[in-house]
């Protein structure tokens, strides 16, 4: 069963490939959509009444933070350290945990689906993907990485079972990633894709590497040891990929 939901400023595509009654699949999709809208309500920086907006205005004290908010803040702090400051939820000034929240919310959505009995699914949140099990054809999920200049072409095709894929790039929304060292927009890399077990981390790593520029290529190479492979395209069209990238054959 397939569903596309407009939420969090993008579209989330949910693909359930389990051989279960339609009513069950429908209920699972409803549950996931409910969760994603809840995340949007609580963490969006565009909503004045979100928990994040209230934190920004200091209307809530740390003691009043929800467990989810506490988790998000801790994860952002960990990632800030892990990425040498390049993943920075405060890059634009006030707290903006969006760079972590989207990947995390889909990771949680996938876990909820698995708990509810869906072991074969693929959730794509505006380009960030969490896949489990196999697709409807019974083979691993085939995921294309968008070509950074030709929107209707792919630069890599991956074959995935239980993995996440996140891509950060400058071609879709312009200069939205900043290099915290220079204060200016990220330069050097056009597209960074990270493949690994956890979508929240893969997404944050991709964003951090994009912010680093070409130095991000060497930084990404070190992540392979932790199970995070990557594929990069530079501003001048050179492509780099780690040897463990699960490229489809």
């Amino acid at each position: 069963m397939h569903h596309a939901e407009h939420v969090m400023g993008t579209v989330v595509s949910i693909d359930l490939a389990d051989d279960l009654p339609d009513a069950d699949l429908r209920a699972m999709i409803d549950d996931v959509c409910g969760w994603l809208h809840e995340v949007d309500r609580r963490f969006s920086t565009y909503r004045d009444d979100s928990e994040v907006s209230r934190l920004r205005r200091r209307e809530i004290t740390p003691a009043e933070y929800s467990p989810d908010l506490r988790h998000v803040l801790e994860a952002c702090a960990d990632l800030w350290r892990e990425t040498d400051g390049y993943f920075d939820a405060y890059a634009a000034g006030p707290l903006d945990p969006s760079g972590y929240v989207k990947g995390w919310s889909v990771e949680v959505a996938s876990a909820r689906l698995a708990e509810a009995g869906s072991v074969n699914h693929c959730v794509n949140a505006g380009g960030d993907i969490r896949a489990r099990g196999v697709s409807g054809s019974g083979s691993p999920w085939r995921v294309g990485i968008r070509h950074p200049w030709e929107a209707d072409k792919l630069s890599w095709v991956l074959s995935l079972t239980d993995q996440a894929v996140a891509t950060s790039g400058t071609y879709e929304r312009g200069d939205h990633v900043f290099n915290p060292r220079t204060g200016g927009p990220a330069r050097g890399l056009r597209s960074v894709t990270v493949v690994g077990p956890d979508l929240a981390l893969a997404d944050a790593y991709a964003t951090a590497a994009l912010a680093m520029g070409e130095a991000g290529i060497a930084w990404l190479a070190k992540l392979a040891a932790d199970g995070y492979d990557s594929a990069v395209v530079t501003d001048d069209g050179r492509a780099f990929s780690s040897t463990g990238l699960p490229a489809a054959v």
Binding site: W156, A215, G237, R238, A239, F240
Partner: protein, 174 residues
Amino acid sequence: MRRSTAAAIGTLTGAALIVGVRLSVSAPVVPAAAPPAVDLTNTGQDVETPDSPTKSGTPSKKAPKKPAGDDKEEAAGEAGGGGLTNGVFKGSAAKNPYGTIQVSIKVSGGKITAADATYPVTGDSATINPPAIASLKQATVKAQSAEVDAVSGATFTSESYVKSLQAAIDAATA
């Protein structure tokens, strides 16, 4: 990498030219005392490359990466036919904003037959130089079409979604 490689190439060219000139006017010169390297802050500036998905390859291919210390056949001192003294000539180490680079050239038969440069191996520069990126393999970016279940890309907005490949997939499977 591109920036520092450009710097290395600039230095190689500069050093080669200077060595060539020196040797031709006052040969033979003691090889180890190659002239000071050219100012890398001027020669090493990045050249703006326009977005070009088809561009491939890297300047590093033109700058052999084997360590300069490889060539131990220090200056045999025998003048070749072209006026240059045979041997291996090392420039003095030159500091630049990305680290320290030392160039060397090999002269045989009176001609420069090889040029090389050491790369910074510490600090920020180490992370952007060839040895450090060995574990990501380089290729030309491909543009292909294939049947896929989902497309990963930079996050699209609700508005730009309609033009995306993912929207086409969603429409096909809805």
